[in-house]
């Protein structure tokens, strides 16, 4: 085990996969010689050269389309879109091309492409640099969506995502870029399978499903609650699509209570999907399920407001307490 930062786990994943498979290339704005705006691609250009590590112009629609064309013809491109908000500029090649080509073309091609991007809030980046759009991508058949919350999951999920023969959208958390955690030592080929949730803390009173950086908030909330004798089970879905409902259902069957926490909007978000699936499955609940999310407003630049905006451990704990009160 070695301590690594979240962004360094990304660099390592890219490096290992590029080393392993020369069909893997990396493209995006400033991923090349400069080493990336968060230092997330540092050293890759020096090792793999200009042909395989390519700075693009600011042309997200065009270069994601190009990545799809490259994926159709023998490469396995990794594409960086710096901020998740800018993925709005390349929905067409992702949704109309990458997600559908295998199907439309009768299985003649696959699109082995991984697009990673930094999303979410907590750094006062303002309304156009803080969005969380997992729900959009998850709504599209043909795409897979991963959202790692720790360095080790970044490493394992990105590596698996690059090896996946489908287009994979990897949603990283800006706020976690500098966070550190244990990862397997260099030399270990660490893979985390797509579509497998991870129980980050066991508990029997309530199931807290937390996505992305909300995993940290959920764990803190669980600590607060534990002091009061409430044992929360914290589950990190890790993949949003496919979504590991098996793990979630098994947990809710035991706890009888479900609370979903994410920094994407509640309306039409992950919480809606998970709560609906649990209810459809007819799992008996001891209290109505809950979502803890930001209000239905853009993400404010204002630090004091953004602190209110994002679900906090206290707000999560408060919601759980209310679920445990006798009706």
């Amino acid at each position: 085990m070695a301590k690594t930062k979240y962004y360094q786990a990304l660099t390592r994943a890219l490096r290992e996969e590029m080393q392993r498979d020369e069909r893997v290339i990396l493209m995006g704005e400033d991923v090349g010689e400069s080493g990336g705006i968060f230092a997330q691609t540092r050293g890759l250009y020096a090792t793999f050269g200009a042909n395989r590590v390519r700075d693009t112009p600011i042309a997200e629609n065009g270069f994601v389309s190009a990545a799809v064309g490259a994926a159709m013809t023998g490469l396995r491109p990794v594409v960086e879109i710096g901020f998740e908000d800018f993925v709005t500029a390349c929905m067409d090649p992702l949704v109309n091309q990458a997600a559908k080509l295998r199907y439309m073309l009768g299985g003649q091609v696959g699109i082995p492409l991984l697009l990673y991007t930094f999303g979410g809030g907590g750094v006062n980046a303002g309304p156009q640099h803080s969005q969380s759009l997992a729900a959009w991508f998850a709504h599209v058949p043909g795409l897979k969506v991963i959202q790692p919350s720790t360095p080790t999951d970044v490493l394992g999920l990105v590596k698996s995502g690059i090896r996946d023969d489908n287009p994979v959208i990897c949603l990283l958390s800006k706020k976690l870029i500098g966070s550190a955690g244990d990862v397997p030592d260099l030399g270990t080929d660490h893979l985390v399978p797509l579509g497998k949730a991870d129980v980050k803390r066991a508990g029997h009173d309530v199931t807290l499903l937390c996505a992305g950086q909300m995993v940290q908030a959920g764990l803190k909330a669980a600590s607060l609650l534990a002091e009061e004798g409430i044992e929360a089970e914290v589950i990190d879905p890790r993949s949003i699509s496919p979504l590991d409902m098996e793990t979630v259902l098994a947990s809710v069957l035991r706890t009888g209570r479900l609370c979903v926490v994410h920094e994407a909007h509640g309306f039409f978000g992950l919480g809606a999907e998970v709560i609906a699936s649990v209810c459809e499955a007819g799992v008996p609940l001891k209290a109505p399920p809950r979502r803890v999310t930001p209000p239905f407003a853009p993400s404010p630049f204002t630090p004091s407001l953004e602190a209110l905006y994002l679900p906090s451990p206290e707000r999560i704990a408060q919601t759980v307490r209310a679920m445990l009160e006798p009706a």
Binding site: N51, G69, L105, V109
Partner: protein, 336 residues
């Protein structure tokens, strides 16, 4: 032969020396495209083809001339009006027809339809229903070739309507910066959907815009298959040698509506008249007289064989079965 050049000098096509073999091939391809589109139009009118289809009648010289310059390992990317391109690059008309008829034996297992015909093994990366994406996908294929060090090239087809899309600019700029082996081939067929050239392009010729990227741009007479061939061949050779992209614009004409069934009330009388006179196949017949070693009766023979091949393809396709219900959810994801 009319052809205007920007940034580059193009020798006349005749000057470039069209051999009898090439002429025969170009003529055959045009006849196959013509017949394919005629049959598609008829079958569509009969209600045998579902969805909607966009035909390239009148534009045969573009697909035929451009694709004849390519090798099998080269790629094309195409548009919603892609039948001609696919045929010219070597797709099988029978499997194409099967796709139009929504049959399991179609290139897309009948699930894609006219707008998604592809034969990746033949280098046909697909027709596409999203205007402009042929150019983005095209530079992606060219990027593959460059990264893999393959000595191949790409032709990305698009229309003058697509030239107004942002991706046209993004793709041409990247192709220029990265010196990719790609030819951007614009079929300026007088209309984009229901509106004329001037609604979409602020200058007389799309090819002018090549100067904005620093690579050659050429406008060529899209009625003249020999001119198209000679012009594209030059661009393809240059790209194959590592010379980077070029933009070729063919002035051509769409005989039919945007889609089959289009009432076309936006067309003037002159437009309707032009559809009677603008005919690359007739023109090629005339020009063929100048090609040494090519006999007039050969052309009749080629034409009737082409008809036969397409008619047989359609007859075969019409008789096939629809895909099974299981096909509905196949190929969404790769098998694990």
């Amino acid at each position: 032969m009319k052809s205007r050049a920007f940034n580059v000098s193009v020798p006349g096509a005749q000057g470039a020396g069209i051999s009898a073999d090439v002429a025969r091939r170009l003529f055959r391809t045009m006849c196959e495209i013509r017949r394919f589109e005629e049959v598609a139009s008829e079958r569509y009118k009969l209600g045998e083809l579902p969805g909607f289809i966009h035909l390239s009648l009148g534009q045969e010289a573009c697909a035929a001339g451009a694709c004849a310059t390519l090798e099998r390992g080269d790629y094309i990317t195409s548009t919603h009006r892609g039948h001609g391109h696919c045929l010219a690059k070597g797709a099988d008309p029978a499997r194409m027809m099967a796709e139009l008829f929504a049959k399991a034996q179609g290139y897309g297992k009948g699930r894609g339809g006219s707008m998604h015909i592809a034969d990746v093994a033949a280098g046909v990366l697909g027709a596409n229903g999203i205007v402009g994406q042929s150019m983005g996908l095209g530079i992606g294929a060219a990027l593959s070739l460059q990264v893999q060090g393959r000595n191949n090239v790409v032709i990305a087809f698009f229309g003058e309507g697509a030239s107004g899309a942002g991706i046209a600019h993004e793709a041409m700029n990247m192709a220029a910066i990265w010196k990719l082996p790609i030819i951007f081939f614009c079929e300026a067929n007088a209309f984009a959907e229901l509106s004329p050239f001037g609604t979409h392009v602020s200058v007389p010729d799309v090819a002018q815009r090549a100067a904005a990227y620093g690579f050659p741009g050429i406008t060529v007479d899209g009625e003249d298959v020999f001119a198209v061939y000679a012009t594209v061949r030059q661009a393809v050779e240059r790209a194959r040698r590592g010379g980077g992209p070029a933009l070729v614009e063919a002035k051509t004409f769409r005989w039919h509506g945007h889609y089959e069934g289009d009432p076309q009330n936006y067309k003037s009388d002159a437009d309707h008249a032009k559809a009677q006179t603008f005919d690359p196949i007739s023109l090629a017949r005339q020009q063929a007289a100048d090609v040494p070693g090519l006999k007039a009766h050969e052309l009749d023979d080629i034409e009737s064989k082409a008809r036969g091949r397409i008619d047989a393809a359609a007859a075969w396709a019409a008789g096939l079965q629809s895909p099974p219900a299981s096909a509905l959810t196949e190929d969404v994801y790769a098998e694990a």
